[in-house]
Amino acid sequence: MISIDSALCRGCGLCVKTCAQQALFLENKKAFCKDSCTLCGICVDACPFHALSLPQKTAKEDLSAYCGIWVVAQCDQGRLLPVTLELLGKARQLADQKQVPLSAVLLSNQAETLARELIFSGADQVLLLSHSSLAAEDEELTFRLLAEEIERRKPEIVLFGATAFGRSVAPRLAARLRTGLTADCTQLEIDKEQGLLLQTRPAFGGNLMATIATPYARPQMATVRAGIFPTPKRDTSRTGTQVLLPFPTKKKPGLHVLETQIQAENSSLPSAQLLVVAGKGIGTKKNMKLVHRFAQLVGAQVGVSRPLVEAGWSDYRYQIGQTGVTVHPKILLSLGVSGAIQHLAGISGAETIIAVNTDPHAPIFQVADYKVQADCIATLESLIQRYESQK
């Protein structure tokens, strides 16, 4: 549990208030800690008198041997995933700041072509495993290759895209290397004093942000979701080296992928990142075509409000609200939806809501981050025109 220096404690009780476990209490104007303490450390920061401290940890090995940043690249049907490029862009900044080399690790049947792309997007070096058998991603092989190469080459930071693949391989690797891994980071920085990787991610359901470091183990590992960092500019003048890696030690595989079925961008509304929601204010059923056209242009999915389903303009499976689907998009464009409370309950998880409605009293405006009091079809038509002219 937390150590409390009773000589420094003034009994102000601030730490007691911060403790989510209710493990701290005051007695005779001094703070004490119960067994239910989870050592989360929040109280340590809260104490103005520096009376609380966590047990001290030390490194188990020489950390100075570790150097350089790695990004584990992923590709799909011969193309690098956007998240890989986004990670390279961020990692480039970190590498420049630390003045260390940036490497990308790539397993592919077309590794040479893709390696060039990785260099154009910021890598100094590409570590390649190239073989005709590597058409599809192989979690076990990637894991074994990385485990061996990280032990051999000792990078100080290893970054993964938080894809299903990354979220399966990275933790297994962290356990093998007995190091820390921070999932779904929204911010990565280098700490100015010690050069540590500071990994920030939402905690407690996004109500609180936590910055996490791995001070005493290497490599420092993190995963990042697609779309968090911007895509870097492709710079074809950049040069770099390619290093061919040997196949890792053979081991009988535990898994056999029997079949992989590519699913066309499915209509899974709950996980949609960009969403367009139509309500009765769109006027007629044929305007649904415009809604779908715009959604197609920006790569969004389409949901509808209940009155629209009742009118038979759309199907129940696209209904958003308390009795329909609950959504959590990054951005939601609401067109002609008045915003019945049942509907609002279903969109409360949206990060940004833009509402277009002619009725200034529409309840949707009470939850909207951006309000447009205008005709939704006219606005929609302008939007479509704007995107089509860009093509």
């Binding site: 009765k280 204010g281 006027g283 209904q319 009795t323 329909g324 689907v325 019945a340 409370i341």
Partner: protein, 525 residues
């Protein structure tokens, strides 16, 4: 008139409520304060424009559906106004447009702070710290407004323990068509026998002759609440928007029980289920709800679950389970509820049930699953009707909302079952078994079913009135049940209600068509 806007297609949602009745209107307003309500109401009264008052339009009796004239939607008046403490009891005054869901969420998360609170209210808020309160009436549709609940004297599953909305409202502000305001506080103004004198804040006195009818001795939301030496506030609660516009309500807050458990008891036969419920309902303290779902209701749920989507999260109902009694236990400790559960298990077995055929919800997550289950039943019935409406646009669900005294429970069930079988009608039944108040829902497959169903509904209204029951136990009368109110109380009583209304609303502009057929013949002509 400035706050009043002409009615246009964008407001079409404001022409209907959950009864799926669609009306028509000439103008609409969304007042933000009592002053605005007053301005609009005075204007309409002077110009003889009918006014239909609306909240969240979740009602099932079409009371909020306009049949012409002006729609006054109160959903923007949703502030919490003040807090008061008296003898350890806490009272919260709110505007009518606040929803039950928002109110109880704010209470649960201790986020009552309101810009309208005075220093005194804030001091009371401090006294409430460390305790969690709730507003006890619980209509199934939690997105209803508090004003709407007061207007129809709503109740819900937990009314078995806590009683209807009426029991939890201690003061009202009401704006009359004349533009005057009444401040009514429970326990301060009573009728003498059946004569009630009301004085407005502006000093005008009204002498009201209360109707002579006797209300049934059962759960009831049919017509004006009338009795000897009536408390004035009770006349306005459940008056279906026909006497005035409620602009503020004082709610009596209830301490949230520390342990709330829900148990679904499944049975193979209705007979056994009824016997079980009848045995336990009056012998267990803290029994908040006694609900029932019949075979057809469970079948509807199974079907909806198969379609996946929103209802996929419903737990699987075993094939052998043909009906279900849901009980909710409110106690101070989990240990107390555990003891009650053990006792209930024993009674279930004595009645011929099997205590392994139960679902016990002991935490909020599981409890909300059982509430979702409860809510999914009417939703499923609505979906079926929406489907059938595509072929027969005229049909609607025919939902009964009638209650009888305790000793007539088995009689009324026999009535429902035999008449439904005779008429070969499809139905699904759920609702408040504890109060002998079941929502028997006729699900017409075509127009002929619809007409047969309507006839049967009228027959039930008659027989249930004869059993000493009520034709509307909780949804209010609105427009849909107005014909049955006459069956229940007789023509003379309706006339007396009408006269009472005309005393306060001489041009009869408010809630046209609610409770009794419109009295505005001359205005319409």
């Amino acid at each position: 008139m400035e706050p009043m806007q002409p009615f246009s297609a964008q407001f079409s949602a404001y022409l209907k409520d959950e009864s799926r009745t669609i009306g028509f209107a000439d103008s609409i307003s969304f007042p933000k304060s009592e002053a605005e309500v007053l301005t609009i109401l005075t204007y309409c009264n002077q110009n003889n424009i009918p006014v239909t008052i609306q909240g969240a339009r979740t009602g099932l009796a079409a009371a909020a559906v306009p049949f012409g004239g002006h729609v006054m939607n109160l959903s923007q008046m949703k502030q919490m106004l003040s807090l008061r403490e008296e003898n350890g009891q806490f009272f919260l005054t709110v505007e009518p447009g606040l929803t039950l869901l928002e109110c109880n969420q704010k209470l649960a998360s201790h986020q009552l702070q309101s810009p309208a609170f005075s220093a005194a209210s804030l001091a009371v808020l401090e006294q409430m710290e460390g305790k969690t309160f709730f507003f006890a009436p619980d209509p199934t549709e939690t997105t209803c407004t508090i004003g709407g609940m007061a207007a129809c004297n709503a109740s819900g599953a937990r009314s078995f323990l806590y009683g209807p909305t009426r029991n939890h409202i201690t003061a009202l502000r009401v704006v009359l068509p004349s533009g005057e305001a009444l401040a009514l506080r429970r326990g301060t103004c009573f009728a003498r026998h059946r004569q009630l004198h009301l004085t407005t804040e502006q000093g005008t006195s009204y002498a009201l002759a209360l109707p002579q009818y006797r209300m049934p001795n059962t759960k009831n939301a049919s017509g004006y609440y009338i009795k000897e030496n009536l408390d004035a506030i009770d006349l306005f609660l459940g008056s279906d928007g026909t006497l005035g516009v409620i602009t503020a309500l004082e709610l009596k807050l209830t301490l949230l029980p520390a342990s709330i458990w829900g148990i679904s008891f499944f049975f193979s036969a209705e007979e056994t289920a009824l016997r079980f419920a009848d045995t336990v309902r009056h012998q267990m303290p803290g029994l908040a709800s006694v609900e029932y779902f019949d075979d057809a209701a469970l079948t509807l749920l199974r079907k909806q679950k198969e379609t996946g989507l929103a209802f996929a999260a419903l737990p699987t109902i075993a094939e052998a389970d043909r009906c279900c009694v849901y009980l909710e236990l409110h106690s101070d400790t989990d240990e107390e509820n555990m003891e009650k559960m053990v006792r209930l298990g024993r009674v279930m077995e004595q009645c011929g049930g099997d205590q392994s055929r139960t679902w016990v919800a002991r935490n909020e997550t599981d409890l909300s699953l059982l509430h979702f289950f409860r809510h999914a039943v009417p939703e499923s019935a609505n979906l079926i009707i929406d489907e059938r409406k595509k072929e027969y646009p005229e049909i609607t669900k025919l939902g009964a909302d009638m209650s009888v005294p305790d000793d007539r429970l088995f009689d009324v069930m026999r009535l429902y079952r035999t008449t439904l079988a005779e008429a070969h009608l499809e139905s699904a039944t759920w609702g408040h078994l504890g109060n002998n108040h079941l929502h028997v829902n006729i699900l017409p497959r075509d127009l002929s079913d619809f007409h047969k169903g309507k006839a049967l509904y009228a027959r039930w209204a008659e027989e249930i009135s004869a059993m000493g029951g009520a034709v509307s136990a909780e949804h209010g009368v609105g427009k849909i049940k107005a014909p049955f109110l006459a069956l229940m109380y007789g023509k003379e009583a309706i006339e007396e209600m009408r006269q009472l209304k005309l005393t306060l609303d001489p041009h009869s502009i408010l809630g046209n068509g609610n409770l009794f057929p419109s009295v505005r013949k001359e205005a319409e002509a």
